[in-house]
Symmetry: C2
Subunit: 175 residues, 2 copies
């Protein structure tokens, strides 16, 4: 089979100006204390791919402009709408007040397999710290939880990988 | 909602000995010149999560044991079966000779959306270099190609993120 050339791919892409005017997907994501800026950058890149409505960056999660984020975001940090909150609980409460269903991606009692989880209306997926996961305070506020099956010994995926799995599944659901 | 504690999660996990005896999933993956050992480590971690049958590491892709891989593999580099080939084309030919369908994950002419792609029997997904993608020599040998939709400006996902998206979709298909 033949790969498309760089030129062919570029021709198929919306311009920077057009991306900023496109309808964005009806889902949000929130990062609760994600420590690694490389992970945050990769998450911006995935957020551009799915045209995420908005990315909420909370607590110790770094926000653009930061060169460590740009290194893995490859420009997506200048295209994806984002907002920073010191306190993730405040962000969750603001989303819920606007009618957004808030869903933790976490190994939690009663959590559904991510791919089985159904939603309509606006939804915000929450991702937590690389080691500690989502804080207990945020878990108290969320409406639902979903998890990614882990069949082997590992307890979790890398957070940027997990973000990709859940966001592309969300995109598949609305396609 | 309540997160499971570390102890509850550990109790639900197979032991290291049990993992090595479990039936593994009927799909393989091949890394063609993946440059970053952090990406290779994250890919091992995801491979453990889906109980990948075997991971083929080719060309400049580093193979365990390497401390840079262990840093992101978190032990999965000691659990997931792998094999190193200097030449990815040789690995692809060996797989095809054993009846494995080889599928490039690449923006290629005629490629299917990854989630629409159907298979039965053994399959091996191929992932390429972070910038260059899969080599032309390997593309000439593959049976099919699939791609992950990229709605914004970015041409591709981070390779470890892309690996997670495609592998968890493969797991969903056999579940």
């Amino acid at each position: 089979m033949r790969k498309y050339s760089h030129e062919e791919i570029q021709e198929s892409k919306p311009s920077v100006g057009n991306v900023s005017e496109m309808d964005r997907s009806p889902f949000f994501a929130l990062l609760d204390n994600v420590r690694s800026m490389h992970n945050v950058g990769a998450i911006f890149r995935t957020s551009d791919a799915v045209l995420l409505k908005k990315l909420y960056l909370c607590g110790i999660t770094a926000a653009p402009p930061r060169k460590e984020i740009s290194k893995t975001a490859l420009g997506a940090d200048e295209l994806v709408p984002f907002e920073y909150f010191d306190d993730a609980v405040e962000a969750v409460k603001a989303l819920k007040a606007e009618g957004v269903r808030v869903v933790a991606v976490e190994l939690a009692k009663g959590a559904a397999v991510y791919s089985d989880f159904k939603w309509d209306g606006p939804v915000c997926y929450v991702f937590g710290h690389e080691v500690e996961g989502i804080s207990d305070e945020v878990m108290e506020e969320v409406d639902d939880a979903v998890y990614v099956p882990m069949l082997g010994r590992a307890n979790s995926l890398n957070v940027a990988t997990c973000f990709g799995v859940v966001m592309l599944d969300a995109l598949r659901k609305i396609s």
